[in-house]
Amino acid sequence: MRHQKARLSFAVALGAATVLTVAACAPGPSSSSSSPSSAPPTGTSSSAAGSGNGQSSSASGLSTSAGTGSGVNTDPATMGTIKLTVWDQETSPGISNSLDELNKQFHAKYPNITINRVVMSGTDLRTTLKLQLSSNNPPDVAQANQGFADMGSYVKAGLLTNLAPYNEAYGWSKRIPSSQLALDSMTPDGSKLGTGNLYGVSGTGEVVGIFYNKSILRKLNLPVPTSIEEFESQLPKIKAAGVLPIEYGDQNLSPSIHLWGVTLIPALGHTTASALVFGGNASWTDPAVAKTATTLQDWSNAGYLSPGANGVSSNSAATAFGKGGAAYFLAGTWNENAITAGLGASGAGFLVLPETAGGPLTAMGGLGMGWAIPTNAKHKDASAAYINFITDANAAQVLIQNNQLPAVPPANFKADPSTLLGNVLADWAKLTAANGLAPYIDWSTPTMYTTLSTNLQLLLANKITVPDFVKAVQADHDKFYSGS
């Protein structure tokens, strides 16, 4: 009897021990993703979350009323001696050097303001910022990650300043396209993206487009395409010539969404594509969805994509393209380094294409984390002046000098059209001028990333039909927007 009992308890303990790791995961995210006002949410899921929400709604009411105050001081020289603490996650050299340079310039221009820059990894920033924002002594300026999970939860808890008065004072919406400001905007309850108040201003940008190998196109006597239609018409010719048309690696799941986005977004048009993400009047039953999904499946069946792509990481695909493995590579601008490492500075080009030649320009992309001002920050006017300084035309020039893609390229900027970087810059500038930046389509619901990446893999492997695919995606959309 006793043995039996001891054995049983041992089994239970062992079982429970393993499961601990799993079970611990479950309450884990609540503590990391919930607002600080509902501090230890692991404890009381329902009640803590309930009271947390009560606080946050009153707090957000406070932040909106504070935001309506007029009398913004836009002259930092008159603000007295101030030390501004700035938190960012820009650890990679190009952008980090740009910020150091801009900080130096700012201090030289306004000697009464000293910048204390605190750099940390993106993960560190996201975890520590939540706690710091609710303290009485938060950073004066901090980068907030767009989307429901981070910026949304800060906004919901009333921890970020509505930048509307500063937008008015500095005229941001005059120089920043509305498609970009939308990404840093939310309703004060954090429930909707793309509308409501402005909570951040971003300095850098990225876009998903088409990289092409210049020497392959030249060898095959193909012109650089000027539309998606022309691009598609070249694919069979490239295949017939024994060259892989499109390099593709989808082990990380996200590349499938980027691959599809290149044809989907222009087919949907900027308005519909944005509405799908921002919860506007749009639906995945739009004919453009089925049409481009069919195209994608056809590409796969015709062998236009790398074989065994699901087992190849996106980095490997970028490297393979850099080694001349394919004519085209449909991916984001962040792959530029991997490509120039193989093909040299001017061996590849970059394209953001309209659906038909001369049509409206629109593409999927994003912005660097938005520079935001915590509600409890002490010197908000100085913070806003600093944000204005590091996102203006001069700042854009500094970013370009450091091989970065500024969110808004300056009007008079010069880019070398023969290099990939120059190409990327020129196309980004064209897209910005056309106000054509569309948000990543997987932002539309919290589950859309999984739904899209899973179903796109199934679609490309002919495991589901296009109507099944559309149905699955629309079901995800319906679930989120009918539930809330």
Partner: protein, 307 residues
């Protein structure tokens, strides 16, 4: 048998007062362990159980939904499928390595004194001490279309360009084989140690009776290894059930949903999709499955314990 703290309470009390005192002291000794287990194990487990009864996005007000998260879990093909996948993984992570280890251990035992046995044992045990994420990264490059696996197959004339982790048919077995590679060392060390504890007289006796190697294995080695087998099965099955890191690194659940496992779903639902309630429900279901399976394995343990 040694008098343990927990068995004191069950002893018939000679004197009432003494017993109470003994109880008190026993509980005092137990307190640190109970507190630790309570705070870091029981509490999170109960909490996860409570959360699983709510629809909660992790931030806003949770809505009481009773058992509907469990109903949703039972009706979601992806979740049901994940438990089937973990069943396949148990074969690769526990059954196959144990079988291979038994054969290898029997061979090693017949081979008597092998030179450098300790060295080979540590070598084969090495995967156990490497972080799972590192193992995942190593195998991603082995399984890549141009990786070692295909190079080796090509060398023996089985030229393929298969992306083992990217093919709907091979992804799950490919992930499973990583587990086999990891667990075989552990199983082998447990079996070899177990065999060394079987009295050599038994082998002498069975040889005198004229038994061959195979007869010897089934008559002496296998029954003598029941204890180590249970230990090895428990450890490897638990490793299979809580598989997360290897899947996360190698396939991310893909292609499609062909390598999705419950622990991965718990993470995905709770962290990425803000379905904390449903994620907790899957976690609790995994706890229940784990308890049932470990309970069954414990039944295999030898009933007789030397007094």
């Amino acid at each position: 048998m040694p008098v343990t703290a927990s068995s004191i309470g069950a002893l018939p009390p000679p004197v009432r007062r003494q017993r109470r005192r003994a109880d008190f002291v026993a509980y005092l000794y137990l307190a640190p362990a109970v507190a630790f287990v309570g705070v870091f194990l029981i509490y999170p487990l109960v909490e996860a159980g409570v959360i699983s009864l709510y629809q909660w996005d992790g931030i806003s007000v949770a809505k009481w939904v009773g058992l509907s998260n469990y109903l949703t879990a039972a009706q979601t093909p992806e979740i049901v499928q994940s438990f089937y996948h973990v069943g396949v993984l148990i074969i690769f992570f526990a059954v196959i390595p144990l079988g291979l280890a038994l054969i290898l251990a029997a061979v090693v035992q017949r081979g008597a004194r092998l030179h450098g046995l300790g060295f080979f044992q540590s070598l084969i045990f090495l995967p156990q001490v490497i972080a799972s994420v590192v193992i995942g990264v190593i195998w991603v490059s082995i399984y890549a279309p141009t990786g070692t696996m295909n190079t080796v197959l090509d060398a023996v004339g089985l030229g393929t360009q298969n992306a083992w982790l990217g093919d709907f048919n091979t992804a799950l077995p490919a992930v499973g084989l990583i587990g086999t590679w990891v667990e075989i060392g552990l199983c082998l060390v447990l079996m070899v140690t177990g065999i060394s504890q079987i009295p050599s007289e038994l082998y002498d006796a069975v040889r005198v009776d004229g038994a061959g190697a195979i007869r010897e294995f089934f008559a002496i080695t296998l029954p003598g290894l029941r204890g180590p087998i249970v230990a090895a099965l428990t450890l490897t099955v638990l490793f299979a059930l809580r598989t997360f890191d290897i899947v996360f690194v190698t396939t991310g659940g893909g292609p499609g949903t062909s390598t999705v496992v419950p622990a991965f779903l718990v993470y995905n639902l709770a962290f990425r999709e803000s379905e904390v309630g449903l994620g907790s429900a899957v976690g609790i279901l995994l706890v229940i499955v784990t308890l049932i399976i470990t309970g069954i394995i414990r039944r295999l343990e030898p009933k007789e314990i030397d007094e």
